[in-house]
Amino acid sequence: MRRLTRRALAGSLLLAAFTVSACKRRHRRAEAQPEQAPGTMLSELQMGDARAAVQLAKGFYDPEGNAWRWTQKHFSVVLAPPPGAAQRGATLAFHFTLPEAEFSKLGPITLSASIAGQDLPPQTYSAAGDYVFKRNVPATLLSAQAVNVDFQTDKSLPPTGTDQRELGLVATSIALQAE
C-alpha cells in the first residue's frame, strides 16, 4: 500500500510537471503571430529601437545593452529624409564609439560614407572615444522617400577564436537631421 502511494505520488508529480509544461506551450502558441510593425520609415535610427531594425540594411550585429550594436567593416542603412530635406538638405549624423580595446590594436581609423551613391568627405579618428560623424547632405540627394547610406571603415578587428565577428565600430544612432 505504501509502495503504491509512493508510485502514485511520483506519477502525480510527473503528470503535474508535464501539465505545467503543456500549459506554457499553449500560452506560447498564442503569441506566435508576428507583431505588426508600423510601415513608416524613420529619419533617426536608435540602435536599441526595435522599429529601426528593418532599416539597418547591412553589416550590423544584434543589439547589445538595448542601446548599441557592433558594425562590420562595411555597413549601410536606409533613412527617410526629414521634412523639407528635399528643399533645404539635411545633416547626416552618425553617433558611434571607437573602443579603446579596438583602437589599441588597430590605431587610427578612417570612416568614409556615401549617400545615394555620392561620396562624403571621410574622417580619420586618431584616439579612442565617442564621436559624431556629421556631414551636410545636399537637397538634390534627398528627393526620394528613402535614401541609402553606406559606411565603411578602413580597418576592422578580424574574427578571433572567441568572437567570430568582424568588428568595425560601436554604433549608437544614425540620423538625417533637418537643416
Binding site: 531594425a53 540594411a57 541609402n148
Partner: protein, 635 residues
C-alpha cells in the same frame, strides 16, 4: 513479528530507496530548464530522417547508413529520433522525458555501483550528485542530439554494475547481463570501446582473478574499431579531423580544467580561465590527485581506477583538437564524480574533523559553483531553443495567413542561424521559400563545411520583384521579437537597389560566391585569383552614367615581362582595356558603362588578361588578383 535485524534491513532498504529518489528529484530540479528546451541544430536533421523512410529498404538505410561524420548510432540516434518523431512529431518534451528517465537510471546505476565499489552509502549518493552538478552535462540533458551520451552512459554503468555483481556472486547470469549491456552500447556511442579497459582496470585493482574474463570484451571493441575505420569514409569536415600528435596534451589540459570547473562558458574555452574557477580547479585537482596517490600508496588503487575512467573516456575525443565540446565530458566526469564521492565516503568514515571539513568545503564549492554554471548553460540553451521555436512558429503563422508568399527574414544573427537553419527545420513543417533578406546574410559566417548559407540567399532583384507583386512577406527579428515589416522593408530594398553605390561585390565575400564563374580560384583572405579568363555577374546599373570600378592587385612577378592588360566586357559590350603596370600595389581600374547597359537585371562581366603566371609548385594559371567590383557614380 519481524526480528530487529530484519527491521534494520527493511529500514536501511527504505532509506536507500528514498535516498536514490532524492538524488533523482534533485537532478530533475537542476536539469529542469534543459527538460523544457526546444530542438536545435542537428536535432532537425535527425527529426527529418523519418521523411526519408517509406518502406523496409529505406528504414534499413535510415537505421544503418553512416551519417554525421560517418557514425552509425542505431539506438541513441536512429531509433530514438525515428520512434519519437513518428509518434510525437515536433514536440520536444517526450524526447526530454526519455532522456531524463535514461539519465535517472544512469544515476541510480552509478549509486549502486559506488556502493558496491566502496561499501559507503555516502559515496554512493555523493557520486551521482557530483555528476548531476557537473556543468559538462548541460548539453547531454538538454539537447536531444546528445542523447547518445546519456544512453551510452547508462549502458556502460549497467554493464559495469553486472561486472561488479559477477565478481561478487560469480553468477553466469550477471556475465550475460554485462555482455548484453556492453553490446547494446555499440548502438549508442563509439566511446563504448573503452569499456573493456575499464573492466580490466577494475579487475586489476580489485579482482585479479577475474582479469582473464574481461579479455574477451576487447574482441568486439577491436572489431568495431576496425570496421569503423575500414568502412566509414573519413569526414571532410575540418572540425572533425583527427590529430594524433602532441596537440592531444593541451587538449587534455583543457578538458581537465573544464571538468574541474575552471571555465565558465562554452565560448571561453580557449580564453584564460576565470580566476575563481581556476582556484577551484586547482584545489580539486590537487586534492583528488593527493587522495588517489595516498590510497595507492596504501595499496588501494581504486582512486587510480577512477582517474583512469576519466582518462580512458576522454581519450577518444583528444584527437579532435579543433572540436572541443563540453558534452564530450559527460561520460569522463563520471570517473571524477566517483573519486570525489569516494573521498567523501572515506572522510565520513574516518570521522576526522579536518578531513571532513576539507571534503565538505571542496564538495560544497564544486556543487554550488558547477551547478550554477550548469543552470546558466541550461538557461542559455533554453533561451536559444525558445527563440528558434518562436521564429518557426511565427513563420508558420505568417505562411498560414499569407499562403504562397515567400518569407524574407531580416535580422537573423549568426548564432540564431547556426542554432538550426543549417539543418533545414522549415521542411519538417512543410515550409518552403524562406530566405534571408538580401544583404543581411553578410552578418552570418557562411561555414561551407556545415552546408553553407546559399539555400537561404535570394538575389535582391528577385526579392524586390516578389515584394512589388505582393508575393513576399518580411519578418524582422529584434531581441527575440518577431516583427512583420513588409511595408518598411520594401522601401529599404528599393532604396538599396536604387543606390547604385551599393552595388558592390567583394571577391572574397561568401555571400557573393554564386556571382563568380567556376574559373575563379577560391577566395584567399580578401581576394580571388582569376586565370586567363573569368566572368562575374553584377546587377546592372539602374541609371546611365555609372562607372565600373575594379579594385585589384598585381604582384611584381606578374609584371616581370611588362605591363599586364585586362580586358573587360559587359553583356558582350567591351568596356575597355586597362593597363596594369604598378607592381606590388593596389590598383583601381575604372570603366565607364555605356548608357544602353543601364536597366534592371543581371550584367555579366567577362574579364581576360593577356598573360598568366605559374608559380613554382603551383599548378594554377595566375592572371590577376581582384578584391572588389563596384558600380559607382563618377567622382
Amino acid at each position: 513479528m519481524q526480528s530487529r535485524q530484519e527491521e534494520r534491513g527493511t529500514s536501511a532498504g527504505a532509506e536507500w530507496r528514498w535516498g536514490l529518489a532524492a538524488v533523482i528529484v534533485f537532478a530533475l530540479w537542476l536539469d529542469w530548464p534543459g527538460i523544457k528546451t526546444w530542438f536545435s541544430a542537428d536535432d532537425f536533421a535527425w527529426l527529418g530522417l523519418r521523411l526519408h523512410v517509406h518502406d523496409f529498404d529505406t528504414l534499413v538505410w535510415a537505421l544503418f547508413h553512416p551519417f554525421a561524420q560517418g557514425t552509425v548510432r542505431v539506438l541513441s540516434e536512429r531509433v530514438y529520433f525515428l520512434t519519437l518523431s513518428s509518434i510525437f512529431g515536433f514536440n520536444a518534451i517526450p524526447f526530454h522525458v526519455v532522456t531524463f528517465l535514461t539519465q535517472a537510471a544512469a544515476l541510480a546505476l552509478l549509486a549502486v555501483c559506488m556502493r558496491r565499489m566502496t561499501g559507503s552509502t555516502a559515496a554512493a549518493f555523493a557520486a551521482p550528485v557530483f555528476w548531476t552538478c557537473s556543468a559538462m552535462t548541460a548539453q547531454a540533458v538538454s539537447w536531444s542530439s546528445a542523447y547518445n551520451e546519456v544512453l551510452c552512459g547508462a549502458l556502460l554503468l549497467a554493464a559495469f554494475y553486472f561486472l561488479l555483481r559477477h565478481i561478487e556472486s560469480n553468477r553466469g547470469s550477471d556475465l550475460v547481463g554485462l555482455w548484453i549491456c556492453y553490446l547494446l552500447g555499440f548502438g549508442t556511442l563509439e566511446h563504448v570501446v573503452v569499456f573493456p579497459f575499464l573492466a580490466a582496470g577494475w579487475a586489476l585493482c580489485r579482482a585479479r582473478g577475474y582479469l582473464l574474463r574481461t579479455l574477451p570484451l576487447f574482441v568486439p571493441a577491436a572489431v568495431f574499431a576496425g570496421l569503423h575505420f575500414a568502412l566509414v569514409p573519413a569526414t571532410t569536415d575540418p572540425l572533425y579531423q583527427l590529430h594524433v600528435d602532441a596537440s592531444m596534451f593541451p587538449t587534455f589540459r583543457i578538458y581537465w580544467l573544464m571538468a574541474t570547473g575552471a571555465f565558465r562558458a562554452p565560448d571561453d574555452w580557449f580564453a584564460p580561465p576565470h580566476p575563481a574557477g581556476l582556484v577551484l580547479s586547482l584545489s580539486l585537482s590537487i586534492s583528488l590527485a593527493a587522495f588517489a596517490a595516498f590510497r595507492a600508496w596504501k595499496k588501494d588503487f581504486r582512486g587510480l581506477f577512477f582517474l583512469g575512467w576519466f582518462v580512458f573516456m576522454v581519450g577518444p575525443v583528444l584527437p579532435l583538437r579543433d572540436h572541443v565540446q563540453d558534452y564530450y565530458l559527460t561520460l569522463p566526469v563520471i570517473g571524477l564524480a566517483m573519486l570525489g564521492g569516494w573521498g567523501i565516503g572515506v572522510a565520513i568514515e574516518n570521522r576526522r574533523l579536518p578531513y571532513v571539513a576539507l571534503a565538505a568545503i571542496l564538495a560544497g564549492a564544486f556543487c554550488l559553483y558547477s551547478a550554477r554554471d550548469l543552470r546558466i548553460e541550461l538557461n542559455w540553451y533554453y533561451t536559444r531553443g525558445r527563440r528558434l521555436e518562436s521564429l518557426i512558429e511565427g513563420i508558420a503563422a505568417e505562411r498560414k495567413s499569407h499562403p504562397g508568399a515567400i518569407i524574407l527574414l531580416n535580422g537573423v544573427s549568426d548564432r540564431l542561424f547556426w542554432s538550426g537553419f543549417g539543418d533545414h527545420p522549415f521542411r519538417l513543417l512543410g515550409l518552403g521559400q524562406i530566405y534571408l533578406a538580401p544583404g543581411t546574410e553578410s552578418a552570418i559566417n557562411p561555414h561551407p563545411e556545415w552546408g553553407g548559407i546559399s539555400d537561404y540567399v535570394i538575389p535582391p532583384a528577385q526579392a524586390r520583384a516578389a515584394l512589388s507583386a505582393g508575393n513576399a512577406r518580411v519578418l524582422t527579428i529584434v531581441s527575440g521579437r518577431l516583427l512583420e515589416t513588409t511595408a518598411a522593408y520594401r522601401r529599404v530594398l528599393e532604396a538599396e537597389m536604387d543606390n547604385l553605390s551599393h552595388s558592390i561585390v567583394d571577391a572574397a565575400d561568401p555571400a557573393s560566391a554564386s556571382r563568380f564563374s567556376p574559373e575563379w580560384y577560391p577566395p584567399e583572405q580578401d581576394f580571388r585569383w582569376m586565370p586567363r579568363t573569368a566572368s562575374v555577374t553584377l546587377e546592372a546599373p539602374r541609371k546611365p552614367g555609372m562607372d565600373l570600378v575594379i579594385t585589384g592587385f598585381c604582384p611584381a612577378v606578374l609584371l616581370a615581362q611588362g605591363p599586364l592588360h585586362l580586358t573587360v566586357s559587359a553583356n558582350g559590350t567591351r568596356l575597355g582595356i586597362a593597363t596594369v603596370n604598378a607592381p606590388g600595389q593596389t590598383v583601381v581600374l575604372k570603366f565607364p558603362i555605356p548608357p544602353q547597359l543601364a536597366g534592371e537585371g543581371p550584367m555579366k562581366l567577362d574579364l581576360s588578361v593577356d598573360r598568366v603566371y605559374r608559380a613554382p609548385g603551383d599548378k594554377r594559371d595566375l592572371g590577376f588578383i581582384v578584391r572588389r567590383f563596384e558600380l559607382r557614380a563618377p567622382s
